[in-house]
């Protein structure tokens, strides 16, 4: 183990080579790229090897950043707010250090940035909708990074770009000075420096009459340079995506990549978050069957709804039961306590006719003397990984469902209550449901209605969360109690619960009565 080689040997079978000769993308440059600049136009596809794991992990990390960026937009955050919100998210998932930092990770960071961009480019080139969304978010990310870039390094990067602009010389400048100033709204303190391009390169500026026009040439003020680079980036990316779309069918040949790409593009529909053991609170509070009623105050709507239905009818259908059991497992309810919980929940009607009905919904043909034991118990234990099931999963059992899972599975039929209510309920019924769990803010209800109308279910849910925890969130932010990355968009019901629980018990957490650090929402890792 002496070898400190940065590039571990890669099992040839696990190689995920982005073979662009096959894809006929840009001209191949069969050299390991050296990344002179922090910023990248991504015009050249990756040429080095990566493992399948890196291929997927890097893609997921980038996806997380893009999803958070989109969430900022959905929530109408200002550019400054977005910048502040995104800084820790980018730092955590897709850090890009400046040359000046002399970080030893520099090359690796840039490689990850470069490769993950291309991974997602392939994953999202499939449909026009995905392409457009990806290009928009990548452009925003590019712009955000550009703004954070060091001045000298930014200039070096811009100078390295093959942009067709020409500086306006002194003679021409003095000839048109008044017009130049009037056209580009240059104030006394502004730099008197312009460059020329074909006006087609800056349609946005022409549209707003922010350039001087002379026979098809636009005279642009230097301050617009960053925006121009950004629009050029956007244009280049859009045409690159079109190109990728045309060659995408060939990607299917590589059957190791396509499931990953498919999963990534699915995740873009509803950002995915894996369940992590850390969303359990069993280490800070004892959870038993009797505490679920109280804890349900901290549940997200999908689970709270199931709990209410269970209490109301002493009955939950199979998929609801599965969803709820996995969730309870996730918050830290032990297998034994879970069995007690269900036994008690059903005991209320243990002798009623509904039990028969319940029984048939699971395994219709099973005749059972002790229905609970033979059926429910099996299901619960199955969920916990105690018996049966997929051999690969045994030991850990099924993992609690993420929002993505809930948002992409088949819609429940009548009488079933599983899934995400933001998606499965009609807007009117959703409003009623929200009001019944104490959401009374009319403005919020309108926003929720608007969001679900646009299929932004997880955004609606996050808004409800923020509203329900407003004072606590403010305190956490003002006093910087948690790292900002722990306040990212919630994408998992168990994250919702844990964050809610911690926020509502802030005093106890601080005094050391419960818990240690903040909640953790892991992206699928």
């Amino acid at each position: 183990m002496l070898a400190a080689s940065a590039a571990p040997r890669i099992d040839p079978k696990k190689r995920a080579v982005l073979d662009h000769r096959k894809q006929q993308f840009a001209k191949a440059q069969w050299v390991e790229q050296d990344y002179k600049h922090r910023m990248n136009f991504y015009t050249v596809p990756p040429t080095g090897d990566v493992t399948l794991e890196q291929f997927e992990e890097w893609g997921i990390a980038r996806l997380k950043v893009l999803a958070e960026l989109e969430a900022c937009q959905f929530r109408n955050k200002s550019p400054a707010e977005t910048e502040e919100y995104m800084r820790p998210v980018m730092e955590k998932h897709l850090r890009l250090s400046s040359n000046r930092s002399r970080s030893s990770e520099l090359a690796m960071e840039r490689k990850k940035d470069h490769y993950s961009h291309w991974t997602l480019r392939l994953a999202f080139s499939g449909t026009a909708d995905l392409r457009q969304r990806f290009a928009r978010l990548e452009t925003q990310l590019f712009k955000l990074r550009m703004q954070q870039d060091d001045g000298v390094e930014k200039k070096a990067f811009i100078d390295s770009l093959p942009m067709s602009w020409e500086t306006v010389g002194d003679e021409e400048k003095s000839r048109w000075l008044d017009e130049l100033k009037a056209a580009t709204s240059v104030s006394k303190t502004d730099e008197e420096s312009w460059f020329k391009v074909d006006w087609e390169k800056v349609p946005e500026l022409v549209e707003r009459r922010q350039v001087l026009m002379k026979r098809g040439t636009a005279y642009v003020h230097v301050r617009e340079q960053v925006n121009m680079v950004v629009s050029e980036f956007s244009r280049t990316l859009e045409s690159g995506l079109e190109l990728a779309a045309r060659f995408l069918p060939r990607m299917d040949e590589d059957n190791r990549l396509s499931p990953i790409l498919h999963h990534l593009s699915q995740s873009f529909v509803a950002p995915d978050a894996g369940y992590s053991e850390a969303s359990s609170i069993s280490d800070m509070a004892s959870i038993n069957a009797g505490s679920i009623d109280a804890l349900s105050e901290n549940f997200p709507l999908c689970m709270r709804n199931l709990h209410r239905e269970l209490r109301k009818n002493s009955h939950l259908k199979h998929f609801g039961r599965l969803q709820y059991t996995l969730f309870l497992k996730g918050i830290g309810l032990s297998l034994q306590e879970c069995i007690v919980f269900w036994r008690k929940s059903f005991k209320l009607i243990a002798d009623g006719n509904k039990l028969w009905d319940l029984c048939f919904t699971i395994h219709a043909l099973t005749l059972c003397t002790d229905k609970f034991k033979s059926e429910y118990l099996y299901n619960i234990r199955h969920s916990y990984g105690d018996v049966g099931g997929d051999a690969n999963r045994r030991g850990k059992g099924y993992t609690p469902y993420s929002c993505q899972k809930l948002l992409t599975e088949a819609l429940p039929s009548s009488g079933q209550n599983h899934g995400c209510p933001y998606r499965t309920y009609t807007p009117d019924n959703l409003s009623t449901l929200l009001q019944s769990v104490g959401v009374s803010d009319q403005k919020l209800l309108r926003e929720v209605r608007d969001d679900v109308g646009k299929q932004r279910y997880h955004i609606a849910c996050n808004k409800v969360f923020e509203s329900a925890h407003k004072p606590e969130l403010k305190k956490v932010q003002d006093q910087k109690l948690w790292p900002a990355s722990e306040l990212d968009t919630i994408l998992h019901p168990n994250t919702y619960f844990k964050r809610s629980f911690l926020l509502k018990n802030l005093g106890k957490v601080q005094s050391g009565d419960i818990g240690v650090d903040g909640p953790t929402q892991q992206s699928t890792e």
């Binding site: 009037a182 006006w199 087609e200 349609p203 026009m213 098809g216």
Partner: protein, 511 residues
């Protein structure tokens, strides 16, 4: 132009004209004949109930509008991407007086004897031999029964002419060149591969947009006084398109009743995508929406050089054509509008007082009153410099071109062809020579019936000439069209030809 934004202004029934914006779904069901010799009647009659028809029957109201000339406020028969709502369940149009110029027979003679198919072909084709520029170009026909058929295309000018003779469209429109022949669009496997690739940049100026500021006429009516607004608009637009954007091949065309169209066929203009078209349109557009004046123009100072140049061009027109001829603030009631444009309470109060005591004043006098009253110390919030700016804004509001900018923003938008007959007036949509813009008189533009009569008269008068001699004279040369009739088009076409040669040269250099 109102119809651009409110396609449901009439009738209220659902639109049956398909694909207003075709870029998204160009290959929708649109049953246009694919045979080279289509039969208009069959096509119009073939739509089953419930099917999405391409061809439509107009309601009776619309036919009346055509001839009434007074109540038609939405239709200049110019561009069709704004569809007219039509109710196909309506009974056949009531018998409306049919002017001779829209009789199929008149139209057939017009297409046979007068319509300049060859120059039009060359203008659109940019070459003497048929290119995709022409062959994959969409034409849309409006038939005498008001059926509207889209996605017509023609291999040659002659086939185009033949179909016009056969179908006798009351007018036709020109759309973009597509990536494949529009007639084959249904045979393409991927709908997205049928897309518009090129079209002239077009502008539409329509007098109805001037109704808030003209006093002489309204709606479809025009007179020599208000035609001056079109003259001003052409001057400002032409200057900007040439000086700012460097376009050279600009064809201005009389729209047949109360406006003008511009067709810019520079290669650079033809290749623009929607974002660039929108950029040009918004660069040129100053007065947006119907509600000008209330919020002010909000122009930043110093004025952008384009606005500044336009203002200099327009100042003389403001004095004569607006203040003197239109006299827009003559009555006290009209003068109130001027007061609302002056954001200074002391100034407006003083003016109001002055005008109440001397109620009969011309607009010229009232305009001068602003300065004299202001100089007498009646300014509270405005200073002298700001007042100058406010007055600049007002001049612009009363003179600056009012564009129907939507027409310009889409590559796939269709616009009425030059040289067709306007169905409402019978006038031929002739080019306007911008160098002699002042001489252009819309009331002297010949109607189709006049032209055909002139030909007949010439033939009768020159019966003495031999067969050979007579054949030397083209039909159009026998009419009042002689001076500069197709000159505009031919001139543009000639340039186009050179341009193509240059392009070919450039391309060959690349290899």
């Amino acid at each position: 132009m109102p119809h651009a934004v409110s396609p449901s202004s009439e009738g209220g029934s659902s639109s049956v004209r398909e694909d207003e914006t075709m870029s998204d779904a160009p290959a929708q069901e649109a049953d246009v004949q694919n045979n080279a010799q289509p039969d208009a009647q069959d096509d119009a009659g073939s739509q089953g109930p419930g099917a999405l028809p391409t061809t439509t029957n107009a309601t009776s109201t619309r036919l009346e509008d055509m001839f009434d000339g007074d109540d038609d406020d939405t239709d200049e028969f110019s561009s069709s991407a704004q569809s007219k709502p039509q109710d196909s369940s309506q009974p056949a149009p009531r018998a409306a007086p049919k002017a001779q110029y829209s009789e199929p027979d008149t139209l057939r003679q017009f297409y046979q004897r007068l319509f300049p198919f060859r120059p039009l072909f060359q203008w659109l084709n940019h070459s003497p031999t048929p290119q995709p520029d022409f062959q994959n170009r969409e034409f849309a026909f409006v038939l005498p029964n008001d059926a509207y058929i889209r996605y017509q295309s023609f291999a040659t000018a002659d086939l185009f002419r033949k179909q016009c003779l056969q179908m006798t469209p009351t007018r036709f429109e020109i759309g973009p060149q597509y990536s494949v022949n529009p007639r084959d669009r249904k045979t393409i496997r991927k709908a997205s591969s049928f897309r518009p690739v090129m079209k002239e940049l077009v502008f539409d100026i329509d007098m109805t947009d001037y109704d808030p500021i003209r006093t002489c006429c309204s709606k479809a009516a025009i007179c020599h006084k208000c035609w001056q607004f079109i003259v001003m608009a052409i001057k400002v637009m032409d200057a900007a398109l040439r000086e700012d954007f460097g376009f050279q091949h600009i064809l201005w065309v009389y729209s047949g009743r109360r406006g003008a169209h511009a067709w810019i066929s520079d290669k650079r203009a033809r290749e623009m995508d929607d974002a660039k078209r929108r950029a040009v349109a918004n660069y040129l557009e100053l007065l947006r929406g119907g509600d000008h004046g209330k919020k002010g123009l909000n122009l930043r100072r110093p004025l952008h050089p384009h606005i500044d140049r336009s203002l200099k061009l327009l100042n003389p027109y403001f004095q004569k054509e607006v203040l003197a001829d239109q006299d827009p603030w003559e009555s006290l009631q009209q003068a109130e509008k001027l007061l609302t444009l002056l954001p200074d309470k002391s100034l407006t109060a003083a003016l109001q007082k002055k005008w109440d005591s001397t109620p009969t004043r011309t607009s010229n006098q009232r305009w001068a009153d602003i300065d004299s009253v202001a100089e007498a110390g009646n300014l509270s919030t405005l200073d002298a410099k700001k007042l100058v700016e406010v007055k600049q804004d007002i001049r612009l509001e009363y003179t600056y071109p009012r564009l129907d900018a939507e027409v310009s923003k889409k590559l796939n938008h269709l616009l009425k062809s030059p040289f067709v007959v306007h169905p409402g007036t019978g006038r031929v949509c002739v080019p306007i020579d911008v160098r002699r813009l002042e001489e252009f008189d819309p009331f002297k533009v010949p109607t189709v019936t006049e032209l055909l009569r002139e030909i007949d008269e010439w033939d009768a008068k020159n019966r003495g000439l031999g067969e050979r001699e007579r054949a030397k004279v083209e039909d159009w040369q026998k009419t009042g069209l002689k001076p500069g009739y197709v000159a505009g088009l031919l001139k543009e076409e000639g340039r186009g030809k050179r341009e193509r040669h240059e392009e070919a040269g450039a391309e060959s250099m690349e290899f």
